[in-house]
């Protein structure tokens, strides 16, 4: 992954944290690809003030979102947050209560599913059990009235792309889960739609297969140049595959940004908590000066210093979010540190490449710290009951106002 280097001095590039920990913290897969920043680009999909109610339950609240051509866009959130409803509205299986959906500038809100230029890969794969793999993949082309030999060629192409050529004559029940998943994907891309929708496409696969399938999805998306929209509740999956992520909760977008921004600059406690691990300190702003903010987080506790967010004022209630891998842990009190707190180690988790530490502070709050085991032997290892100091520079904490 050469993109990682582009981050330069970013402290996230934990050395040796390769295979065991899969949280990939790279920004957009194609560096420089950011059509959402380009005002001359028009979106391929636009959700305009979409509201969806099921009886009294509001599944989607006033959502507006632009998705651009060739994007791999992830809708991420816990179950029931409205992400699948949003996808099903784009596919045409649900009608929005109000609002419009546009594809390439054209209003498709009233179109039936079979009239839309989108194809979907279903969570259950929804393969036709009575048809062979070839017939499954060719089904959409047959509906178009494409000539038989053209269908065969296109099916062959899709099967080759997903390494399914050997299974063309089999029925779905004669395939493994991973193979079924690839057939479902092949069927969704066979018609070369402008937009492919993926509803929890890898949910049924085991972890190892899932990671493999994630890279396959990215490869297919890149080679076909299609816009992919994926719905997932798995934050690692969203981080790995997508160019941008919309984090959803209770039918609303909490944040829409690149994986890198979502991780490094979450806009709320909800997002910070949902993506990766985070330590949260609740406190009050004492004062704002020179772009830094001083935080009082309890009587008798040393104040924290952090980069001030925009519009931060004194006495405001805020939360300081701190990623565990950005907390340094040491025996001695660091001499030059803006933020240093003493504590006692209550838990140690050794994972080989990295170690987790749970440190209890004087006020009882527990802080998680993560350290890469870059040296093979250490003079003195940090252990249970050890008194330690936690330290971090003012740039690494994120001050959240909601």
């Amino acid at each position: 992954m050469s993109e990682t280097q582009a981050l330069g001095a970013s402290p996230t590039a934990t050395p040796g944290a390769g295979p065991t920990r899969a949280t990939v913290r790279t920004p957009a897969p194609q560096s420089g690809f950011a059509p959402w920043k380009d005002p001359s680009k028009s979106p391929i999909v636009r959700f305009e003030n979409i509201v969806k109610r099921f009886g009294d339950f509001v599944a989607v609240k006033e959502c507006t979102l632009d998705i651009y051509e060739r994007e791999f866009f992830a809708l991420l959130g816990p179950s029931g947050c409205g992400k699948t409803t949003l996808l099903r509205m784009l596919a045409g299986f649900e009608k929005p209560t109000s609002g419009r959906i546009l594809v390439a500038g054209e209003d498709i809100t009233e179109l039936a599913p079979y009239e839309r230029p989108v194809n979907m890969m279903f969570q259950s794969y929804a393969l036709f059990p009575h048809m062979t793999v070839e017939q499954n993949i060719g089904f959409g082309l047959k509906q178009e009235g494409m000539p038989k030999d053209a269908i065969a060629a296109r099916v062959e192409e899709a099967m080759a792309m997903l390494e399914l050529s050997r299974f063309g004559k089999r029925k779905p029940h004669q395939l493994s889960g991973g193979q079924q998943q690839r057939v479902a994907l092949a069927r969704a891309i066979a018609k070369k739609p402008r937009i492919v929708l993926l509803d929890e496409p890898l949910g049924a696969l085991d972890k190892r297969l899932r990671q493999q399938a994630q890279f396959e999805l990215m490869r297919i998306q890149e080679t076909t140049g299609t816009t992919f929209i994926i719905v997932t509740h798995d934050q690692e999956e969203a981080m790995t595959v997508s160019s941008r992520i919309a984090v959803m909760d209770h039918g609303q977008f909490m944040q829409v940004a690149t994986p890198g921004d979502i991780y490094e600059a979450p806009n709320s406690r909800y997002v910070a908590n949902f993506i990766g691990d985070v330590n949260l300190f609740e406190g009050k702003v004492v004062r704002v000066a020179d772009g830094f903010v001083e935080i009082d987080w309890g009587p008798g506790l040393a104040r924290f210093k952090s980069v001030a967010p925009e519009g931060c004022v004194a006495d405001q209630q805020i939360w300081l979010a701190l990623r565990p891998e950005k907390v340094r842990i040491a025996f001695e009190k660091p001499s030059e540190a803006s933020n240093a707190v003493p504590g006692k180690v209550v838990d140690v988790g050794y994972l080989g490449s990295i170690s987790h530490y749970h440190v209890e502070l004087a006020n009882g709050q527990r802080v998680r710290a993560l350290r890469a085991n870059s040296a093979r032997t250490v003079a003195r290892t940090i252990n249970w009951e050890d008194s330690v100091w936690l330290e971090w520079p003012p740039e690494t904490g994120i001050v959240l106002t909601r």
Binding site: A91, G92, F93, A112, P113, Y114, V118, N119, M120, F122, Q123, S124, A126, L127, F128, P129, H130, F139, G140, Q143, E144, P172, H173, Q174, L175, S176, G177, G178, Q179, Q180, R187, K191, A204, L205, D206
Partner: protein
């Protein structure tokens, strides 16, 4: 497997004896040499061959078969449509009433069903005959067909239909190319069930029929009133055989379909693991 205790063995023997001794007796007497039904005169198949000369019985059998084929086809189509509406459309105002109305004939006394149909035909001034019997049979066997198809539709993955529509198939094409092939086994067993129901119905047919459309059960019943002949035993034995084959075949198709489905589910699970 636990072995039968003597108590279990006795109860099962009593149960089966209760159910099947009369039928067995009828089958045995159909091979009776003697002209007197109740006197055993040795083995013979002569009543089966004399049956072939009995034109009244044969034409009644032909009517019955035609009625059964047409009415069960009609009942299967209507029952399948009703089942789809009940399962697919989900909640709509009056759904409970609607499903109640479809299944009411299941428990309705046949005499009442027959009588009401007769009143309808009379009121509409329809000539009673072949078609009125067909309609009457379709009416009461349709609810059985609906029950059979509905059971299959309940565990049908709706996203398969959505996938077909998503790939560009309008609703009718989706139904013909995807839904129907998948539920075909249950549709076939619904047809077989309706067929057997129509084949052995006496009460409703006697209300709905008219001149020239006497079904076999009616013929048998009217002949029996004049005295049981060994020929009747023979024709009844043939009917028992037909109905048995129909029922066995229907339950076999259903079972095989559900076994295959289970296998497919297992394959999916195993693949996902």
């Amino acid at each position: 497997m636990r072995r039968f205790s003597w108590f279990n063995a006795t109860s099962i023997a009593l149960g089966f004896a209760f159910l099947y001794i009369p039928i067995l007796l009828l089958v045995i007497y159909s091979f009776n040499e003697s002209k007197l039904v109740t006197v055993w005169g040795g083995w013979s198949t002569k009543w089966y061959s004399s049956l072939l000369q009995n034109e009244g019985l044969l034409s009644a059998a032909w009517v019955t078969l035609r009625v059964a084929v047409v009415s069960s086809t009609l009942a299967t189509i209507l029952g399948t449509l009703a089942a789809i509406v009940l399962v697919r459309i989900g909640r709509f105002p009056g759904r409970t009433l609607f499903s109640g109305l479809i299944f009411a004939p299941l428990v309705m006394p046949e005499v009442i069903t027959g009588l009401s149909l007769l009143l309808l035909f009379v009121a509409m001034n329809v000539d009673r005959g072949f078609w009125t019997v067909v309609i009457a049979h379709a009416t009461f066997s349709m609810c059985f067909a609906a029950v059979v198809v509905q059971a299959r539709l309940y565990d049908f993955d709706k996203s398969v239909e959505e996938a077909a529509m998503d790939l560009g198939a309008p609703p009718v094409k989706t139904f013909l190319q995807v839904t129907l092939p998948i539920i075909a086994p249950s549709v076939i067993s619904a047809w077989l069930l309706s067929f057997t129901l129509s084949l052995d119905d006496l009460v409703i047919a006697s209300f709905a029929t008219g001149p020239g459309a006497t079904t076999l059960p009616m013929k048998i019943y009217s002949q029996v009133r004049l005295g049981v002949t060994p020929e009747i035993n023979a024709v009844s034995t043939i009917m028992i055989g037909l109905v048995t084959i129909g029922v066995i075949f229907a339950s076999y198709t259903t079972k095989r379909a559900s076994a295959r489905q289970e296998r497919e589910m297992k394959a999916v699970d195993a693949g996902a693991k």
